[in-house]
């Protein structure tokens, strides 16, 4: 589809047209990457598929990676919009909110699962927990959303203020990534297996928050680590430096948590 000709930095190109071209580039990138893989999809290939002049694409995106990020930004917007349209969303339970957030994202991404699979392989090396710096803004939005849900539930007396309150949204982000990865691989009809996993696992997560099992298990874990592991580690520092490093990390994590509870 040829929308229009663009010559250099033509000032007449309206904002709306610009947005259309931007979308066209993203769509073409998704198509080309889905067919040729990430490596095989060149900028030239993408602009050809979008029927744009060879240099036009660079007016919009300097790299392939930026197009991919723009794709996820658009999807993120779509998810937010879709959730904002649910009339009684505020009356949903905490579980229903998180579950709807996940299901909505699967619904919105479902047409491009092959593309997403390629992206996960390329950027996360098939490990959903890999952190990748470009993910940060998405994480931030998700964590904010979760914070908002949690606050609302506490305010409505649906759940008691959970311990480790500030860590829960970040843990939910990791949970989301794992579930997302499961969904990408889910071959069941209508991704019903993913729905079932989410339905069942959220029950556990929310129960953990409510019952305070998680913080108690962590209390026990820290106690055992401190009294039985770190004491020994200090004596064998030279031999066990990797362990020591891990210990430091845990200590740092601990201090963050204690700071949290103050």
């Amino acid at each position: 589809m040829k929308l229009f000709h663009i010559r250099g930095d033509d000032m007449k190109v309206s904002k709306e047209h610009k947005e259309q071209v931007r979308k066209l580039i993203i769509e073409s990138a998704v198509d080309v990457i889905s067919i040729r893989g990430y490596r095989g999809a060149t900028m030239r290939e993408i602009s050809k598929s979008a029927e744009l002049g060879a240099s036009t694409i660079y007016n919009y995106f300097s790299t392939k990676e930026k197009i991919v990020i723009a794709y996820f930004e658009d999807k993120q917007e779509e998810i937010e919009k879709s959730i904002a349209e649910i009339p009684d969303f505020e009356s949903f339970s905490l579980k229903e909110k998180i579950q709807t957030r996940l299901e909505t994202s699967f619904d919105i991404y479902q047409g491009e699962r092959e593309f997403i699979n390629i992206i996960i392989k390329r950027f996360f090396r098939s490990n959903p927990l890999t952190t990748y710096k470009e993910m940060k803004p998405f994480k931030k939005i998700f964590v904010e959303e979760m914070n908002h849900y949690l606050d609302a539930s506490v305010e409505n007396n649906e759940i008691a203020e959970p311990m480790l309150r500030n860590h829960i949204p970040k843990l939910l982000w990791d949970y989301y990534k794992i579930i997302f990865y499961y969904w990408v691989k889910d071959k069941s009809q209508d991704f019903n297996n993913t729905s079932r996993v989410v339905d069942l696992s959220l029950d556990i997560i929310i129960e953990m928050m409510e019952n305070k099992i998680l913080p108690r298990a962590l209390d026990l874990g820290y106690f055992l680590l401190r009294t039985h592991l770190f004491d020994n580690v200090e004596g064998f520092e030279d031999y066990l430096s990797p362990l020591k490093k891990m210990g430091d990390k845990i200590k740092k994590f601990k201090s963050e948590i204690f700071k949290d509870e103050e």
Partner: protein
Amino acid sequence: MKKIPTGKISRSTVVGTTIAKAGIKKVSHIAKSPFLSKEGKKESKEKSDEAIAKMLFGALNKLRGPILKVAQMMANEIEYIPEVFRKELIKATSKMPPFIINRALLRKVFIKELGSPAEKLFSSFEAEPFAAASFGQVHRAELEDGTKLAVKLQYPGLAKAAESDLGLLKNIAKLVSYMSKVIELAVDEIKDRVREEVDYNLEAKNTKWFYENLEMDDVVVPKVYDELSTDVVISTSMLEGVHFDDWLKTDPTQEERNRYGQIFTDLFIRSFFDIKTLHADPNFGNYIFLDNGKLGLIDFGCVKKFDQKFVDSFAMAMKGFSVRDVDTTREAFTMLGITYSDDLDGEELLDWGEWFFKPYRHGKYCFKSNDEYIFEGIQYMFDFTKNMDNYNSDMVFFFRSYLGLGRMLQKLGAEVNTELVFEKFGLN
């Protein structure tokens, strides 16, 4: 926390171990048998059965999810399951958590199935279900024009899993030799029922068929809304009224009880003879006592069509029953495809026929003063199935409905006129 076996292999292992244990028990029962008197043998058999049942169905405790749903259906809906088994099944399923379709899942199902969320499909939709279904739940909704609907949905993916788990129950069933036919039959029946319960296309088709063909002024069949129905969603007009137990709580007079009893009776007879199709799900929940005094019939998942030969053969059996004629009865049963091992004597057959014919002998029957009728029938059925070599599955459906009708009338304590049967059977 108890570890829940997952995957087919580990699930089978749970069952396999149980099977091995049961095998040993059975051997010890057989080994003991030759030295026992007839009575002692019977008692020992029962004891061994109980022990086996405990072990077998105890295995279900280690499983979770859809198979429990299946076990629960078996316990609640199959009349001829021996009591020992039923007890174990109920125990295994008593703590089963309900499968809830919350608002997040409702949204997913509506979007996947009908293309939009509930708020765009209906002018109003209650997220809180007003009734439970086997693998789902039923919600109230309203259309723009004010039409009230009942919308039934399935928990996504659950039914499929339940169906594939049925093989496990069948393996369990194979073990209990003296009851194996009955249990196997029950498992097959449940298998069919699960399929029926989850096939909303079929249910919509059946409902529409009844809507068009059942011509009874006092019975109301809901209207199906095709554009709001799919494989796993079915939308019908709402029948406003109360269920059986709630109706009884209104303390109805004997006349009212008799009137409804008569509707139930006529519905059964007309369904069998006129349209040769029975609503074969005897669940009390499938009847609604409507605000306008009529009877509402819902849930057409299980519908059985009979051929003319079956109806004719059954009429012949009834003739045999009515005059206690062994040869006619036997011939009718052969035509129905039911054969018995040699040790079933003709008298036993006629006794059973006598029981069956009781409500029709005098053209009138009071279920209030004969409140043992169904209990007796189940005993007869039970003895009967034990000696059976070959069973006609149509009979299973017929008796399920027949016993269902009996239970309904017994619960109503109604006196009903049964002369319609004579007319239909040509017995006069």
